[in-house]
Structure formats: structure tokens, C-alpha cells
């Protein structure tokens, strides 16, 4: 095929071509300038990533043979931020239109200026939502006709460059599709800049041209646009782009060093010395264990799950573990459950399917499920008999082990109701002997609010010592 000899062939996704843009659309040219930029800078294509949202210009990601993501509408910047945080080595660029970046994803665009991550945002401004037939968008010029503003746009447009300057982007430039060599210059500088970079690229849209009876926006850009070495504040303004367009680099700053914040002081450290519990780590032999804690919001279900997972990790730091929690919209009194997974291998699904160990602090979850208690046939249930209606457990297979403790009652009589979860934990530790006692105690000290360590520990002890009378 001839396309294989094309100098851009390495970076083009050839099986996707020919591309879908309208004849006369110059978005494809932005793709070419991006490829040229990568080639000029000598970047390894494996280290470049492009993230785009939805829109005509966002199709670029589909035609580049890099690792690209086509994200949801407007969410290109947060997706790119995630990529960058996960692998800071990558050069991450966001390609999108004005509707995607400034309209739907406007807040993310502002937030990136604050975050200060090294992302390059290339925003192709074609003055509206062109993919859906040209509705008016945030950058549609005053008085321009679109589908939704058939007698002229009554709203003033936003100025992307001004917004980016105000939001704190360290590199801000404006170019057009008719000046690809200038655009390459800007892109090269943007890629080199270590902070968030933004380039507004004006591109003509055929639909805009036809609706507004403009012969050729491309010719207009070539005619009216002036590339300037030094730009003044007036050049930022672009309200009448039919008369005057100033192109150039508005800002190219180094990234500011952040001052060290000393606002957050740890109060935890003070108490830690007093309750320094020694524990021994050992191989637990757990291959895959699903633990679920069910109850009512306010019973410390999430806290209990956290203690469980910390204790397990104290004992066998080689385990992989996840904690997920689910609760209803109510803060207190609604059903609530916490899933803990312990696995010797990587965890690819973080939710518990069928628990091996079920800790029930109330029957609410089971009742919502229609009275069904989900448990592995060979599993273990530890139930707070002062809270759970024991008739729920009647239909279980004989192989399921059930241990009962009136944890809430013990807590109410001897301590406070809030430590019922730790009474239950003590009992779990004793009856199941999956995790060592001291690992549990260290985990409790770590998760208890400062000053309540003693209370929580004695609650745990009383659960550990509980014997059915």
C-alpha cells in the first residue's frame, strides 16, 4: 500500500483511514502538525499518549497509532490527568474541540490550571458543536447563526486564551490551522513546558461557513491573522475575529515551586507510643478469602472492615487486599456493607461475590435482599445476636458454621455502643483464628480516633474472652 511509505506512517493508524472529516475540514492538518512535532522532538511514540473527548476534533485520537484514549464527552482532561499521575514519564496530550474542553468539560479545564500537571491541551476551536450539526457553543461569535441561534447568537463568546491565562496555565498560545508551521513551533514549546499548556487552534468548519455565508474561513485566517513576537493585553481579545486575529505565544513560564505546607499536623503520633503493640508477621496461607461485614449505618461497619484489612496486612504483608463499601443514601440507619478481599494474587475484581466469612451486625441487608443470607457453603458466619433476627439463619446448609455473640449488648453494658464492632472483632479473632490477636490489636490502635485506644482495646478483649454462659 502506498500509505506505508508515507513519512507519517509510523504514527498513523492506517486501518482507520481514510478519515471521516468533511472535505475542506482542516482538523486532519492539526493531526499532521502533532505528528511532525513528535518527530521533530524525537519523542518515542510509545511514550506519547493522546486523550480526547467527543467531537469532530476528538477523532484525532482514533487516527494516531499511539496509546490513545477516546474518553467520554468533556472528560478528556481528568482522564489524561489520571494517565499522567499513573505514569509521569508519559507525554500526555489532550486533543479536543471547544465544545468538549470549554463547554462540557469547562470545569476540568479550569481545574487543570490549578493542578499544574504537565499536560498539553490542544483545543481546536471551530466556534460551535459541529459534530451534531452545529449548535451554538461557548465560543460561537456574537451574532453568528447556528442551528440553535437561527437569528444570530445573542450571547457573548468566551475567550479561551483569556480563560487559560486566568486559570494559571504556564503555556498559552493561539494559532490557526492555516499556519501549520507556526503551530508546530507552538506545539514544540508546549511539549517542552513542564506545566499545563494550552493552545487555542482556530479551525474552519464547513457548517459554520455555510450557515454564515462565509466563503472560506481558511482564507480569512490567512488574510487577517498576524503572528506576533511580543503580544500585548489587547491581543488576547478576539471578539471580532473577522477583523483581527493575533497569533503567538502569550505566556511561556516555568512551573512555580510549591511552598511546603505545614498546616496538617499529626496528632496521632503522640498516642502511638503508649499503645505500642508488637506483632509478628507470618505467612497466612490465605489463597483467596472473601470477607463481608453487614449491618446498619452508624454501627462502625466501615471501621470494622478497615480494622479487618489492616490486621490482615499486619499479619501477612505479602497479601493483596481491597476494601469496598456500599451504603444507601442515609448517613445513619440505612443498610451498609463492607467487602474485604484477601488474595495471594492480584485482585482484579474488588467486590465480594460469595463471602467465606460473614460478619452480621444487623439483619437489615439480608432483609433488603428478601431474607436471603449469602454465604459460601463451607463458610463461617459471626452474628451479633442482640441485633440480628436469628430466624434469618434457619435455612442455611448444615456445613455453615455459625457463631453468636451479643456484641451490642456487651458494648452497651460495659462500654459504649459505638465499640460494638470491636467486641465482634475480638470474638471473630478468637473463633476463626485466621488472624493473630496482636495484629488485630495493632490495627485497632491505628484506626481508633486519638484518645479512644484504651476503650477500643478493652472492648476487643471482652469480645475475645466472651464465653457463652
Amino acid at each position: 500500500m502506498e500509505i506505508d511509505q508515507h513519512p507519517y506512517a509510523d504514527i498513523l493508524r492506517k486501518e482507520m483511514m481514510p478519515n471521516i472529516w468533511c472535505p475542506g475540514c482542516r482538523i486532519g492538518r492539526i493531526k499532521n502538525t502533532f505528528i511532525e512535532t513528535i518527530q521533530q522532538l524525537g519523542y518515542d511514540p510509545d511514550k506519547c499518549t493522546v486523550v480526547s473527548g467527543i467531537g469532530c476534533s476528538s477523532r484525532i485520537a482514533g487516527y494516531l497509532n499511539l496509546d490513545t484514549i477516546h474518553a467520554t464527552h468533556g472528560r478528556a482532561i481528568p482522564t489524561a490527568l489520571g494517565v499522567k499521575l499513573a505514569n509521569p514519564e508519559l507525554k500526555v496530550s489532550v486533543m479536543g474541540g471547544d465544545g468538549d474542553i470549554l463547554g462540557i468539560g469547562g470545569n476540568h479545564f479550569l481545574a487543570l490550571g490549578r493542578h499544574g500537571q504537565d499536560l498539553n491541551v490542544f483545543c481546536m476551536n471551530n466556534f460551535g458543536y459541529s459534530m451534531t450539526g452545529f449548535q451554538h457553543g461557548p465560543t460561537t461569535p456574537f451574532g453568528a447563526r447556528t442551528i440553535t441561534t437561527s437569528s444570530g447568537n445573542p450571547y457573548a463568546p468566551v475567550n479561551p486564551v483569556a480563560v487559560a491565562m486566568a486559570a494559571g496555565y504556564t503555556f498559552v498560545a493561539r494559532s490557526t490551522s492555516a499556519h501549520p508551521y507556526h503551530l508546530i513551533d507552538c506545539m514544540v514549546s508546549a511539549m517542552k513546558n513542564r506545566g499545563p499548556s494550552f493552545i487555542e487552534i482556530l479551525v474552519p468548519c464547513m457548517l459554520y461557513e455555510r450557515r454564515n455565508k462565509i466563503k472560506s474561513l481558511e482564507a480569512l485566517f490567512l488574510d487577517k491573522a498576524k503572528i506576533k513576537e511580543t503580544l500585548s493585553a489587547e491581543d488576547i481579545d478576539q471578539s471580532d475575529f473577522m477583523k483581527r486575529i493575533s497569533l503567538g505565544i502569550f505566556r511561556d513560564d516555568p512551573v512555580r515551586q510549591r511552598p511546603q505546607l505545614s498546616l496538617v499536623k499529626s496528632t496521632k503520633k503522640v498516642a502511638a507510643g503508649k499503645f505500642d503493640i508488637k506483632y509478628k508477621s507470618r505467612a497466612s496461607g490465605i489463597k483467596y478469602m472473601q470477607i463481608r461485614m453487614e449491618g446498619t449505618g452508624g454501627q462502625g461497619i466501615v471501621q470494622g472492615g478497615k480494622v479487618m484489612i489492616k490486621a490482615a496486612m499486619n499479619m501477612d504483608p505479602k497479601l493483596n487486599s481491597t476494601l469496598t463499601k456500599r451504603y444507601g443514601p442515609e448517613m445513619k440507619g440505612g443498610s451498609c456493607l463492607t467487602d474485604v478481599l484477601l488474595s495471594s494474587q492480584h485482585v482484579d475484581y474488588p467486590f465480594v461475590d460469595v463471602p467465606d466469612l460473614l460478619l452480621m451486625m444487623s439483619g437489615l441487608v439480608a432483609k433488603e435482599r428478601g431474607g436471603k443470607v449469602i454465604i459460601n457453603d463451607k463458610g463461617t458466619i459471626v452474628v451479633d445476636e442482640s441485633m440480628v433476627d436469628l430466624s434469618l439463619l434457619e435455612n442455611l446448609p448444615k456445613t455453615v458454621k455459625v457463631f453468636k455473640i451479643p456484641a451490642t449488648q456487651i458494648a452497651r453494658e460495659n462500654f459504649r455502643v459505638v465499640v460494638a464492632n470491636n467486641v465482634l472483632m475480638g470474638f471473630v479473632c478468637k473463633t476463626t483464628s485466621i488472624i493473630d490477636k496482636n495484629c488485630f490489636k495493632a490495627a485497632i490502635v491505628k484506626s481508633a480516633p486519638p484518645g479512644t485506644e484504651e476503650l477500643n482495646l478493652s472492648a476487643f478483649e471482652s469480645g475475645y474472652k466472651y464465653k457463652k454462659s
Binding site: 507519517y8 483511514m17 481514510p18 472529516w21 475542506g24 486532519g28
Partner: protein, 107 residues
């Protein structure tokens, strides 16, 4: 700021040679016609012209009118949104003083 174009595209002033290239047009990709014709418009050497034979999608891809004149500036390749045209350097040729004078007049 100067953009850096790959050295093949620079003219060799000392030896008075300029690059000669081969232009390849991928007719099926092209969306030429009234709306595009960018390669034709931006080619400084006027090497291309709009063709008269439509491709399978009804567009008119450009045709080469003077093969030897392309100087491998790479503009058509960069400007073409469809990646339907590209150039490769095949050699160099010596420019005569007449041609230089002619170029200077027209520039």
C-alpha cells in the same frame, strides 16, 4: 523562534543544488475539489493541478503537471488533512544562475 525542518529540505547553497523529489498521491484518500485543493494552493513550485478524473468517492485528486520541479519542501504533505499526498527525496539537481535570477524576480 525558528522551526526546525529536517535538513533534507534545505537548499544546499554552496553547491547550488536543490532537492528533487517524487510526489505520491493516494487517490482514494483524497477529498480534493472546491473545498480542499490545499496541496495545489500551497505548493510554491506549482507542481500540482486539480485532476479531472474523479476517485471512487467522487472527489478530484490532484495530478502532477511537472514532475521534476518538486523541491521536497513538504508543504503538501503537511497541509493535506487526509494524508493523501507525500513526498520523498530522490536526488538533487544543480540550479543554473538563470533559474536563481528567475526565482528572485518572482519572489
Amino acid at each position: 523562534m525558528k522551526h526546525e525542518v529536517s535538513p533534507v529540505r534545505y537548499w544546499n547553497i554552496q553547491e547550488c543544488t536543490i532537492p528533487v523529489g517524487k510526489v505520491t498521491i493516494i487517490a482514494n484518500f483524497c477529498k480534493g475539489g472546491e473545498d480542499c485543493d490545499d496541496c495545489i494552493r500551497f505548493c510554491p513550485e506549482k507542481v500540482l493541478e486539480r485532476g479531472t478524473v474523479p476517485n471512487e468517492r467522487g472527489f478530484f485528486p490532484p495530478i502532477l503537471v511537472d514532475d521534476g520541479k518538486c523541491t521536497v519542501c513538504g508543504r503538501c504533505q503537511l497541509y493535506c488533512s487526509e494524508n493523501a499526498i507525500f513526498v520523498e527525496k530522490t536526488g538533487e539537481r544543480v540550479v543554473t544562475p538563470d533559474e536563481i535570477a528567475h526565482r528572485e524576480e518572482n519572489s
